[in-house]
């Protein structure tokens, strides 16, 4: 391809933005997993605020992240014209804020998971292994989504696909942690 003055321009494939974002996301996921596996688990409680134990705190913070993610999903559907009516101008910034807050409430949960418990192969079952893998992939997908939002070269389908994947991962994380906790320990604070 060449400009009118004859300058040659090398065309870039439209998906390169997504490729870079996915690569960075994969690196984040691997980093989280390697840390969880290599780090010697402290086996200590961390934050619990007014909750009975750190695990109660984690179960409710993950639930809060899920609620914020549902708000994210609804906001995204509205902005993409999948809900009735035109999305007002505040939906975009509100979508950004709810996404940031979802990440924020997940941080102390991830910190306890990684620092105190570590990547758990769970020899007695599969729940903790699946949860560990999902947790690593979640932060990788989050990094991919943030970079995809910022990328001008990512294809138009990339953002809803990565956002949907991120939402699905959080639902699975909630199912393998908070729901299990509420089911086995009880819905208590």
């Amino acid at each position: 391809m060449a400009l009118a003055d004859g300058t040659a321009v090398k065309a870039r494939p439209p998906g390169i933005g997504l490729g870079v974002a996915a690569g960075v996301g994969a690196a984040v996921a691997v980093f989280v997993g390697v840390y969880g596996k290599a780090h010697d688990p402290a086996s200590e409680t961390t934050i619990k605020w007014f909750f009975k134990t750190t695990l109660h705190f984690k179960a409710w913070m993950t639930t809060a992240a899920l609620i914020l993610a549902i708000a994210q999903l609804l906001g995204a559907l509205w902005m993409y014209g999948k809900l009735p009516g035109r999305a007002p101008s505040w939906v975009g910034p509100a979508h950004r804020i709810s996404g940031s807050l979802a990440l924020l409430v997940s941080l102390p949960v991830a910190y306890h998971c990684l620092w105190s418990l570590g990547f758990n192969p769970d020899p007695g079952g599969s729940r903790r292994l699946i949860h560990s893998i999902l947790g690593c992939v979640f932060y990788g997908a989050f990094a991919t989504k943030v970079l995809t939002v910022r990328s001008k070269r990512a294809p138009s389908w990339a953002l809803p696909v990565v956002g949907g994947l991120l939402f699905a991962l959080l639902v699975l994380i909630w199912l393998t942690s908070s729901l299990w906790f509420f089911d086995n320990i009880g819905v208590e604070v």
């Binding site: 134990t53 804020i97 940031s100 910190y111």
Partner: protein, 124 residues
């Protein structure tokens, strides 16, 4: 206005991510209390505190204050199992949500953990 708030929130969350990563690498766990002579004598050469930290603390808490698993410290475990052999049986065979450790730990290691919970954590 809302866009400005979104930018501020994103900046604060980015700072929180950085703080979390730094803490992951710099925060050192509290050293477990040394096992008293009675525990060491129960299973010489076995690191009972280390075993408890590796195998039990994830559910029962590093100080035995409970979590997914019940509280063990403050004499709770001795009150629930006046007979040590009953506690050894639970650790060996498991029950309800508690996994069986009979195939994963030696008899000496199980004995050391049981003594650790009864002697060291009892003071907690």
């Amino acid at each position: 206005m809302l866009r400005r708030i979104a930018m501020i929130v994103e900046t604060l969350v980015l700072a929180a991510v950085i703080v979390t990563v730094v803490l992951m690498f710099t925060n050192s766990p509290t050293a477990p209390p040394a096992a008293p002579a009675a525990v060491a004598a129960a299973a010489p050469g076995v690191d009972s505190a280390g075993l408890y930290g590796d195998r039990c603390a994830g559910c029962h808490g590093g100080d035995g204050s409970g979590g997914i698993g019940p509280k063990l410290n403050g004499g709770r475990v001795v009150a629930q199992f006046p007979n040590t052999a009953d506690q050894v049986a639970v650790v060996t065979d498991g029950r309800r949500g508690m996994p069986a450790f009979g195939a994963r730990l030696t008899a000496d290691e199980i004995a050391a953990i049981v003594e650790y919970t009864r002697a060291v954590l009892a003071a907690g």
